[in-house]
């Protein structure tokens, strides 16, 4: 399997004495290449935390997150970064996902800038076209674009480093129904063309039914009895443009 999460705990400090509140307890999950797994549940139950854990932004207190069998937190800084680059995230609030002082072009170039990979304007235009946009928007600032456009550019930004897994944290809940439909279609198209796997976090059951191959409830994930295991080997994807 592509991504495996084993027995993960995560708690947050709360209040002045940092009393640990356990948000996730003993969570396990698997994801295969080219598939979409949905995570449902009410707000505040830890869906976003799980998403952040998978993307490697925060570290689990206990348990491991394995990409292609390797722990993403193991190894040297460079190795870790390489693994983490394979799992990226799209956020719920499109306007907040971009530095408001940077043009869209600067934001799109950021991932390659961090990995010191050069990106030609043609490459960028390609990625923008893949998400259905022209290059005119690149000169603008996030405040000048609509939610739908911003989410598309967020996807374009991620596509520049070709991740294997994208975690989508309620990507369309701030968008109107029609734009949501377009984004969903776009995601499905991208999955067909590139084989990227998705973790789709949502509270909309209908949406999950359309989008996901399998769905889990965040409450169920935390119980040891309902571990779902599907094992299929996957090839490693390298950073290529």
């Amino acid at each position: 399997m592509l991504l495996e999460i084993n027995n993960v705990d995560k708690g947050y400090g709360h209040g002045r004495f940092h009393k640990k509140v356990c948000v996730l307890e003993n969570v396990s999950l698997t994801l295969d290449k080219g598939k979409t797994v949905g995570i449902m549940g009410d707000s505040g139950k830890g869906k976003t935390t799980l998403g952040l854990l998978m993307a490697g932004v925060i570290r689990p207190d206990k348990g491991r997150i394995l990409l292609n069998g390797q722990d993403i937190w193991a190894g040297s800084r460079k190795e870790r970064d390489k693994k983490k680059a394979q799992i990226q995230m799209v956020f719920q609030h499109p306007e907040a996902a971009f530095n408001p002082r940077w043009t869209m072009e600067q934001s799109v170039r950021e991932p390659c800038h961090i990995y010191k990979i050069s990106l030609s304007p043609q490459d960028i235009a390609d990625k923008m076209a893949r998400v259905g946009l022209g290059t005119k928007l690149l000169k603008r600032y996030p405040s000048q674009l609509s939610g739908g456009e911003l989410q598309r550019i967020a996807l374009a930004r991620l596509l520049t480093i070709s991740p294997s897994v994208i975690v989508l944290d309620e990507p369309t809940s701030m968008l109107d129904v029609i734009t949501q439909a377009k984004i969903i279609r776009l995601l499905m198209e991208i999955q067909e063309n590139t084989g990227i796997s998705f973790i789709f976090i949502t509270h909309d059951r209908e949406l999950a039914r359309v989008m996901c191959h399998e769905t889990h409830d965040i409450g169920d994930l935390s119980l040891p009895s309902s571990r779902v295991e599907i094992r299929i080997a996957a090839e490693e994807q390298t950073l290529d443009l």
Binding site: M89, A96, I114, S143, S146
Partner: protein, 700 residues
């Protein structure tokens, strides 16, 4: 709560008014500081210490006379100025550097470093600066260096705290999380993402720190605890006081230093406040970093003042006595661009109409990040009637203006809104209502359920009191009785254990429960009309069903609900109104709407629902016929419909944008696009089903 400073003291307008970029602000600061900086070069003037005859009043050779020792006051003033400024700036610089460094480390790395640093900061904040300086100066040798060190020591915690809290906030923002998930190093994140958003704040605080450092220094010097060999403005005043210059009325001796200190300090204060207002506390309106870490949706309109300021200005201020709608041909502003007037006679008898809205237009002027003034049309030529017994659902997406519509109906538009057209409530013109009348109506007649997002409930007042507030203030029931009533209402909304829960505060409730509290609040007065704004937003399915049941059981004269939840609308409404970009596109009875909508937008909307499978390929077409006739504009077109043009370099598409903004707003994405759609269609009636689309032009 952001750390409070006398920062936005001069902020008397909308918070976003004075956004500037780096360069402008830095220029202004330099201009303000230039006189002061140039004085720095004069601090070691020999002539300031030269001795002449003492006690001379202003006269030849001595612009400001001489002091008790015989030194020329004017040159002393300049020399002292340089020194005072130097002390102030040095102290402020040190404090800012130390504060920024510690704040960054504490905020970014958290953990032990955070606790230690903040602990130290708290301790230093508690020690009063002047006494500390006095003590240290008495133990060490008096000298300006000590003064600088001590002022820095007592000022750094302020900067550290502010930097730290800003750091904490921004660190959790999605764009920073994104960088972290990309594996960006700490350096990249701090220097490329966080510091630019903190830089102006630091600059502002540094400027204010100079002002307060100078104040402290003059105090110390006035006490005679500064360096006796180096003159500062404060020590000049010490000389005045000790030399009985006050009593003898030597105004040329004591006035100049006082004036200089005051003007300089005020200058730095003003500069600091201006900087802070422009950036630190107040980001540009559209920026998500606007308000205390909340991530807002689109620009949210400014709220009016609480006392004294008049209700929003009406453009069309004609006094009409009649109720029949008349297109206002005299005032072109009230007519939307290129739109033919809707000369429909009222479909319902006037006495059944609770609300009659005629040609309502609402505009906002805002300034964007790129410093452009833009006019946003929130509503344009809206004609609507809410009649007795109706259950209306107004469907639309964010930006469609539906929430603004309710605000206009309640008289709660922000003060920077410009309204045109008329709203009649029970036959009377709302524009003629006084403030008191509005308050009376809102208390007794119309109940409003606001959107539950953010702080719709006051965080420091118990939920029960907020629910019963309307009845307590206007109906004069006691607090106790109010709580009982609140408990009953809350129980009706499906919250268990409501007798206990009414004593809770909003932060102890979840989002769904807060939504129900807002509902209970509106139900409290048994008002005849209920307007609800997105009552099911963000709720899970079970709660949505509960809320639906409450609405179905309501027994009011009329209920209007704004929602983008089509499931809810289908179950609840009798009449559906579809809005898009401030315009009504369709109005129909609910059954016929959901079975056979007329407008292409409505069709697209229904097809786009996940429950329909999102399978309709039409919605994916950004290559419809509109794009074919205008290949210059390919970007999918869901930006705001904005007048005033975009700052495009492509002139041709700029013109096209303007053109389209006068036509049907759905034109760009419509599968039925024709050339005539470049002109706004009017509202065509097919019995009680109204559509604004040329495809259905054959109406009566």
């Amino acid at each position: 709560m952001a750390f409070l400073t006398p920062a936005s003291v001069l902020e008397t307008g909308p918070m976003n008014k004075h956004s500037r970029n780096w360069k402008e602000g830095a220029l202004i600061l330099m201009a303000a500081a230039l006189p002061g900086v140039s004085i720095l070069f004069f601090k070691n003037m020999d002539i300031a210490n030269a001795l002449f005859s003492p006690w001379l009043p202003p006269g030849d050779g001595h612009l400001l006379g001489t002091n008790d020792v015989g030194q020329d006051i004017f040159f002393q003033l300049i020399s002292a100025g340089g020194r005072s400024l130097m002390v102030g700036m040095a102290a402020a610089l040190t404090a800012t550097l130390v504060g920024t460094l510690t704040g960054c480390v504490a905020g970014y790395y958290r953990g032990i470093a955070d606790r230690v640093i903040m602990g130290l900061a708290d301790i230093f904040l508690l020690i009063p600066d002047i006494p500390l300086v006095i003590v240290l100066v008495s133990f060490f040798e008096p000298g300006l260096f000590n003064v600088i060190i001590v002022i820095a020591m007592t000022s750094w915690p302020g900067t550290a705290r502010v930097v730290r809290s800003r750091m904490l906030k921004i660190k959790e923002y999605p764009f920073v999380l994104n960088a972290r998930s990309l594996g960006a190093g700490d350096g990249h994140i701090i220097f490329k993402h966080i510091l630019p958003h903190t830089g102006e704040l630091i600059l502002a605080k540094a400027t204010l720190a100079v002002a307060s450092a100078m104040l402290t220094e003059t105090g110390i010097s006035f006490l005679g605890l500064g360096d006796p060999c180096q003159v500062t403005w404060g020590s000049m005043l010490h000389g005045v006081f000790a030399g009985a210059g006050l009593i003898n009325g030597y105004w040329w001796w004591y006035l100049p230093p006082v004036l200089c200190i005051s003007v300089t300090v005020m200058g730095f204060n003003l500069a600091g406040f201006y900087l802070q207002k422009g950036w630190g506390g107040n980001f540009p309106a559209d920026s998500p970093l606007n308000r205390q870490g909340q991530i807002p949706g689109k620009t949210h309109p400014e709220v009016p003042a609480l006392t004294g300021i008049n209700p929003p200005v009406l453009i069309n201020n004609k006094d009409t006595q009649t109720l029949a709608p008349e297109p206002d041909t005299l005032n072109p502003i009230s007519k939307p661009h290129n739109q033919a007037p809707d000369t429909q006679p009222p479909s319902f008898p006037l006495d059944r109409q609770i609300f009659r809205i005629l040609n309502l237009g609402v505009e906002f002027g805002i300034e964007c990040e790129t410093n452009q003034k833009k006019t946003i049309k929130a509503l344009d030529g809206v004609n609507l009637s809410l009649v007795k017994g109706d259950r209306m659902a107004i469907i639309g997406e964010s930006g469609s203006g539906k929430s603004i519509l309710f605000l206009a109906m309640l008289g709660l538009l922000p003060y920077n809104a410009r309204m045109s057209g008329e709203v009649f409530f029970r036959g009377k013109r709302m524009a003629s209502f006084s403030r008191k009348h509005y308050q009376h109506i809102r208390a007794w007649d119309i109940a409003y359920v606001p959107q539950g997002a953010g702080n719709a409930l006051n965080p420091v007042i118990k939920v029960g009191h907020q629910i019963s507030e309307r009845m307590r203030i206007h109906g004069s029931i006691s607090k106790k009785k109010g709580m009982v009533m609140a408990a009953r209402l809350l129980g009706q909304t499906g919250i268990t254990n409501s007798h206990q829960r009414v004593h809770y505060y909003p932060h102890q409730f979840s989002g769904g429960m807060n939504q129900r509290v807002l509902l209970a609040m509106a139900l409290a007065g048994e008002n005849s009309v209920l307007l609800a704004d997105e009552p099911t937003k963000g709720l899970d399915d079970k709660t949505k069903e509960d809320v639906l049941n409450i609405f179905l059981k309501l027994n009011r004269e009329a209920v209007a609900v704004v929602t983008h939840d089509l499931w809810f609308a289908r179950q609840f409404a009798k009449t559906i109104v579809v809005m898009y970009k401030g315009i009504i596109l369709e109005q129909a009875p609910a059954d016929s709407f959901f079975t056979a909508p007329y407008h292409p937008y409505s069709k697209a909307l229904l097809n786009a629902l996940p429950s329909q499978g999102i399978l309709n390929p039409v919605i994916m077409s950004s290559h419809n016929r509109y794009a074919e006739t205008d290949p210059g504009d390919k970007h999918g077109g869901d930006s705001y419909r904005i007048d005033g043009g975009d700052d495009d370099d492509d002139d041709r598409s700029n013109k096209k944008n303007k053109e389209i903004s006068r036509g049907c707003p759905w034109a760009r994405e419509c599968e039925e696009f024709h050339d005539r759609c470049r002109h706004m269609p009017r509202l065509f009636s097919h019995n009680i089903h109204k559509v604004r689309c040329w495809c259905h032009a054959a109406g009566n």
